[in-house]
Amino acid sequence: MKRLSLFTICLIILIGSWVVLRFAIGGIVSVPIPGSVIAMYMGLIIIAVLVHISVEDSLFREFLRPIHETLVDNNLRVRRRVIAVLIPLFLLGYTHSIIAQRANPPGSPRDAHPSPPLELTYKDEVIGTMQDVVNPFRHYEKDDPEAFKAHVENGRRVYYDNCFYCHGDHLDGQAHFAPYLQPLPANFQDPGIIPNFQESFFFWRIAKGGPGLPAAGTPWDSAMPIWENYLTKDEIWDVILFLSDYTGYQPRTFGEAH
């Protein structure tokens, strides 16, 4: 068998690495790798290949040989002509595809979590500072499990009468109204949601809804209603108990350590 030329080996290495990055690692092993990251890896690999072939003069000449031959050797006329057609054709198609690309609608560079105001209010009544307000029924969890259960049950009722159309039976934001809302309703099963915030934060988000979101970090585009117009203070606290009871996640607290 004829030995492969150094040029062909380099070409195989480059194409092979790209295929592995693009299809084997990104796709089979893990999620697809972003184009920019692939470009970075490919850059490194190209540099490595160039370093390898330029270490010795003889190696570099060996590498260039097939290119020289293709360019001047009269026996390789066919190959030369094919390449002279293929390269300009490829560039023609590639530049055309870039120029003819249609503009896509702007994405929404939204903060994942809005910053709440300093004071927690219900309608116009000030409840306290966001930092200090706690769920008034939370202590029943230890003190009076029966009463706690009753509050959770009431929260369940509130949830199914009002929230589940969007946030879903599974509390995962995948309800029958949800798939066509942009942004999607909150997913309470996401471990990044409930454990990250105090109950006062949830009270604020439920009470004030989409229109109550801060001016910074827009656009929010949230379809969340202003629930203080429909729910009593106690109902909001109860539904928060239900959210954490159903999902098993505990909201953040600043306990005795402070």
């Binding site: 360019l71 929404s108 009468d161």
Partner: protein, 570 residues
């Protein structure tokens, strides 16, 4: 003597014991505690702790959550009048029921838990225990493959069998009796829109559709194809054709009278057999044969009909108009096409799903309008839109809503911001008719189909009809369960309260739609959050200049390289 008394006593005691055991067996739930636990955690708020379909959330839901105490199950693989199999129940719990509020539970309950729930909900209806034989399943043998010919046959059957009366001429659920239907529990129910197969509760493949025909949809007005629910039950295809022919005659001869009498007698026999069979009366071999022959015709016709129904809807729900499917208005030179112009056919419509408005009272928890589909053209001065949406009824405000005193009528509102937000971080107005930032609306009503009113709103209850009207041309029509609305406006207007349009700018767009027959009025409606549309710019002519230039340059470079190498070699 003594012996006989003892025997009687023993028999009595034995009988009593048996009775106690029987009662006990009926009361003792076979399902484990786990099934009950899962049911109460995940199902009870809709289906009720006693399984009566009366959980706290049920009040706002339509279709209503299933009442498990009557043993009536819509989606079954079993024959008419039969209970579902365990697998049927398991599948519904797993997959859910599209178009209703029943979700699939595959992600949140393990298979074991779902089986436990199946066992538990069966305890709500004693029939499951009492029936000894397993339910009779619908045979899928003899399936007729999808073909144009079968669809054609199905289309004829669709009219002949009376499907039109509820499901309408082309299947959009707009038949004349559509608004009058109620289910077994007295709740209003709408016939399926066969053009929206993604909402079929039991799935949209041909086999599923076929099973709905044979088994019926228990508890709903959809009958099973059997006995007198099926036209000419007991006659062969040819006999049925002949009878229709005879029935359509103004006057029958004596011979023809006798002929038709014979057909009626044959049908009576078959219908009686079906009734007997449903009641569990054993049929003789000959009777069974007669019944089987009758059902063979039903099966054959049902496959054709299933193929026809399958042909009415796209394979899947169209992708919503976001991302790469965004609505792009296409540029044309000269006059924009009118509503009935065939020019619209070259465009593929974009699909905008809508949801119930549950933010502000009165709210709509059970929408009947699923989506609006849109096409658009623009030229140098104007833009034209074609809006299409399915509505089972044509309601023009003859009836007055009691609570608001306003007429119940079908309508559509198209919403834009007054000013397009500049840059991706600029806020849009509140999606429900604006708030701090105002929105600009086109409001169309079925009672005035040639008119679109321009409105400026700063909130759903804070809308003002613009003083300057007349910038819009509109035309609306309702045919076979579908509204079509054509609207044309100038790209630029003099009114500062109007949105000004420019090619290449992504404009937020949102919708409100009202179905008067579903009680939609005021804030009770279906809505969308913000979508986007753009007047697609005419592609730049640069695309004909740069690519060839680069191709020629690269070729030159190759030649140059060759020349250099050649010179060096020599």
């Amino acid at each position: 003597m003594v012996n006989r008394n003892v025997v009687t006593l023993l028999m009595l005691v034995f009988g009593l014991l048996c009775a106690v055991m029987l009662v006990h067996a009926q009361n003792a739930p076979e399902a484990s505690e786990r099934g009950k636990e899962v049911y109460e955690q995940s199902c009870a708020h809709c289906h009720g702790t006693e399984g009566r379909g009366d959980g706290s959330a049920a009040e706002n839901l339509l279709p209503k959550p299933r009442d498990f105490t009557r043993g009536l199950y819509k989606i079954r693989s079993t024959e008419s009048g039969q209970l579902p199999t365990d697998q049927d129940l398991f599948d519904i719990i797993t997959i859910g029921m599209p178009g209703s509020s029943m979700p699939g539970w595959e992600t949140s309950l393990s298979a074991d838990e779902r089986w436990e729930v199946v066992a538990y909900i069966k305890t709500f209806y004693n029939g499951f225990k009492e029936s000894e034989a397993p339910p009779r399943q619908i045979s899928l043998e003899g399936k007729i493959a999808y073909s144009e010919q079968s669809v054609e046959t199905g289309k004829e059957l669709y009219v002949e069998l009376g499907c039109v009366e509820c499901h309408g001429n082309v299947g959009r659920g707009d038949g004349t009796s559509a608004p009058t239907l109620t289910d077994e529990w007295g709740f209003q129910t709408w016939p399926a829109n066969l053009a929206q197969s993604w909402n079929f509760r039991g799935g949209a493949d041909t086999e599923a559709i076929f099973k709905r025909f044979i088994g019926g949809i228990a508890g709903s007005p959809m009958p099973a194809f059997e006995g007198d629910s099926f036209l000419h039950f007991g006659l062969s295809v040819e006999e049925s054709k002949r009878l229709t022919e005879l029935e359509n005659k103004d006057e029958m001869t004596e011979v023809e009278e006798t002929e038709s009498e014979k057909f009626y007698e044959k049908m009576d026999v078959a219908v009686d057999l079906a009734l007997n069979r449903a009641e569990g009366i054993e049929l003789t071999a000959a009777e069974q044969q007669t019944y089987d022959d009758a059902m063979k015709v039903v099966y054959e016709k049902s496959w054709h009909l299933a193929n026809y129904v399958k042909s009415l809807a796209p394979e899947e729900r169209p992708e919503p108009a976001i991302g790469k499917n965004v609505l792009r208005s296409q540029y044309v030179q000269g006059e924009l096409p009118g509503m009935e112009d065939t020019a619209w056919e070259v465009l593929q419509s974009r699909h905008f799903p809508l949801v119930g408005q549950v933010v502000i009272e009165p709210r709509q928890f059970n929408p009947t309008i699923d989506s609006v589909n849109i096409k658009s053209f623009y030229n140098d001065t104007e833009v034209a839109f074609l809006f299409m949406w399915d509505d089972r009824t044509h309601t023009t405000g003859d009836e007055i809503d009691e609570s608001t005193g306003k007429p119940l009528e079908d309508a559509l509102a198209i919403q834009f911001p007054v000013k397009v937000p500049q840059g991706p971080t600029a806020p849009k107005p509140y999606f429900l008719w604006g708030g701090r930032l105002p929105v600009y609306l086109w409001h169309w009503k079925a009672s005035a189909p040639e008119q679109v009113v321009e409105i400026t709103a700063k909130g759903i209850n804070n809308a003002e009809v613009q003083a300057a009207q007349g910038a819009l041309q509109a035309q609306g029509a309702y045919t076979d369960g579908q509204y079509k609305l054509w609207v044309k406006r100038a790209l630029k207007t003099d009114d500062k309260k109007d949105l000004q349009l420019e090619p290449g700018v992504f404009v937020p767009i949102a919708f409100s739609a009202w179905d008067g027959a579903n009680g939609d009025v005021d804030t009770k409606r279906v809505v969308s959050s913000w979508y986007t549309f753009v007047l697609e710019p005419v592609p730049s002519s640069r695309r004909f200049v740069y690519p060839p230039l680069i191709a020629v340059l690269s070729l030159g470079l190759l030649f140059g390289l060759r020349a250099v190498v050649q010179r060096r070699n020599s």
